[in-house]
């Protein structure tokens, strides 16, 4: 998966749940290789948007195109196959070690099936070894190499978040979706995470779409920002322009100087 990052174009996406419009004709574009932030009050529809992009929810209307392919209607695993990876707002890891979780991220890049694995065919053994090596590199990049062979269960919150991001990176994605990557971290840890995200972009050259309530982080990282409120897009532009937008202030930021 060496293909370069491509443009993600969200156009008029609408999602309705019984009696509730969670996304209402939302449109925005994530430029290739950029870090794009999606912000908005609680319940604005940010996670819903992620769910549509990753195929977990099916949009009621509108279109999502990535690299010229239509994504709406594709099942999640097909979307993953196109190089789109995500993390979850509430950490969702599977049982087992860090390595197990990261190797799960490499599912789509590997091919060993039931038969070859059960029989331990050399092909499968070789493949596993090669990809484990890469998973270790990624773990090291996120600073969790020391935990590589430990169970994820008792890891601290921050480390678990890092495992999630590492798992997403293990998919060698071209577009990375991060849902509140620094929630529950203190400022020092937040800074470190921001540096990691920036480094991912710098070294892998992929696009990143990020949902975050920490405006400091958004301002430091994002090239562009889209603001949602009640499922509608209320602003779109550079961080600075959005931060000054009165509607955004009224709906989301409140007294500006308070944002940590």
């Amino acid at each position: 998966m060496t293909a370069a990052a491509a443009e993600l174009r969200v156009e008029g996406v609408t999602v309705r749940f019984a009696g509730l419009t969670a996304l209402d004709e939302v449109s925005f574009t994530v430029a290739p290789g950029s870090i794009h932030a999606l912000i908005g009050p609680n319940g604005a529809g940010k996670s819903t948007c992620f769910n549509v992009l990753s195929g977990v929810y099916r949009a009621t209307g509108g279109s999502v195109r990535y690299d010229g392919r239509e994504l709406t209607g594709l099942p999640p695993h097909r979307i993953a196959g196109l190089g789109i990876a995500r993390t979850f707002q509430n950490i969702v890891l599977t049982a087992g070690t860090v390595a197990d979780n990261l190797m799960l991220g490499r599912h789509g890049l590997t091919t060993a099936g039931f038969t070859s694995t059960a029989l331990r065919l050399p092909k499968a053994v070789r493949e596993q070894r090669r990809h484990r090596q890469r998973a270790y590199e990624i773990a090291d990049f996120l600073g969790i190499a020391a935990h590589f062979d430990q169970p994820v269960g008792p890891l601290s919150y921050g480390d678990r978040k890092r495992v999630e991001i590492a798992r997403a990176l293990c998919m060698e994605p071209r577009l990375l979706l991060l849902d509140e990557p620094v929630a529950g971290m203190n400022p020092t840890e937040r800074l470190a995470m921001a540096a990691t995200v920036a480094a991912v972009r710098a070294e892998l050259g992929i696009s990143i779409l990020i949902v975050e309530h920490d405006m400091g982080m958004v301002m430091r990282l994002a090239d562009a920002v889209t603001v949602l409120d009640f499922g509608r897009r209320i602003a779109d532009g550079t961080p600075e322009s959005v931060q000054r937008d009165p509607e955004v202030i009224a709906a989301y930021l409140g007294r500006q100087e308070e944002s940590a």
Partner: protein, 267 residues
């Protein structure tokens, strides 16, 4: 609200030691006083033992396979026995980490579950009060809690705890995942509740807000109390400023700050 009676709800934590699964020592002798009628903040990085401390108070340690090895906790002089139901009966309610709303129940039923001890009339009154504080909940009263957004669930968790009209409120990261404006809103609510006589123990990552609204604060590190004092004192402490308030944030360019390198996958 009733005229001011001398506030009760003093929590004394004395050399508390807690171990999980007979292996992980999460608290290693924590002593702390939470004064009646005050807001006390506890700061600390991930894994410092903040949630463990709250669990020890509310009596839910056992559900995480944790035990108190030694030390103890008293509420207004009476020892807490590690039974959640008794803690609630004594007027102490905890908002757990990570929202934990009853996913299958509606918003309204969640609130009812928060006020189980109340009679019908008192419960309706309490519910009106919560709706007034958190209007989103009124809008969504018939929605299943599990389908709400992260932030909405956080508000429900708080509202549910308020239903019982607690004497002592334990909050575990109430601002987690909340939008900036909502954080302010919750801070205001906590202050209002406190003003009405509720003692609050607040665990927070958002130290700026926490220190602003609380009277006293402590910093927990590796299962030990590292610093303790009035909120102003701590807010002025250099270490606290650096570690928890993000002072000097405008450091080097983020990407360069990252220690490790990662090449592209050659396939």
């Amino acid at each position: 609200m009733s005229p001011p009676t001398p506030p009760t709800g003093t929590l004394r934590i004395d050399r508390l030691q807690v171990t999980y699964s007979r292996a992980v020592q999460a608290l290693r002798g924590v002593s702390l006083e939470v004064r009646a009628g005050e807001i006390t903040a506890v700061l600390g990085s991930n894994g410092a033992g903040k949630s463990t401390l709250l669990r020890a108070l509310s009596g839910t340690l056992a559900l995480h396979r944790g035990v108190v090895d030694s030390g103890g906790v008293t509420l207004d002089g009476a020892p807490l026995t590690g039974d959640p139901a008794r803690a609630v009966a004594a007027g102490m309610v905890q908002v757990p980490e990570g929202r934990r709303v009853f996913a299958d129940l509606t918003v309204e039923e969640n609130l009812r579950a928060g006020g189980l001890a109340l009679g019908g009339r008192a419960r309706r009154a309490a519910q009106e009060r919560v709706f007034e504080l958190l209007p989103v909940l009124a809008e969504r009263r018939r929605q299943a809690a599990g389908l709400m957004s992260g932030g909405e669930q956080q508000m429900l968790a708080l509202g549910r705890a308020l239903m019982a009209g607690p004497k002592v409120l334990l909050l575990d990261e109430p601002s987690l995942g909340l939008a900036p404006m909502m954080v302010e809103r919750i801070a205001g609510i906590v202050q209002r509740i406190n003003a009405a006589g509720t003692t609050v123990l607040l665990v927070e990552q958002n130290a700026a807000v926490a220190l602003r609204i609380s009277h006293r604060a402590s910093v927990l590190e590796n299962g030990l109390v590292r610093l303790t004092g009035s909120a102003e004192e701590l807010a002025g402490n250099d270490e606290v400023r650096r570690l928890y308030l993000g002072a000097g944030e405008s450091g080097p360019e983020p990407a360069a700050a990252h220690p490790a390198k990662l090449g592209r996958w050659a396939g």
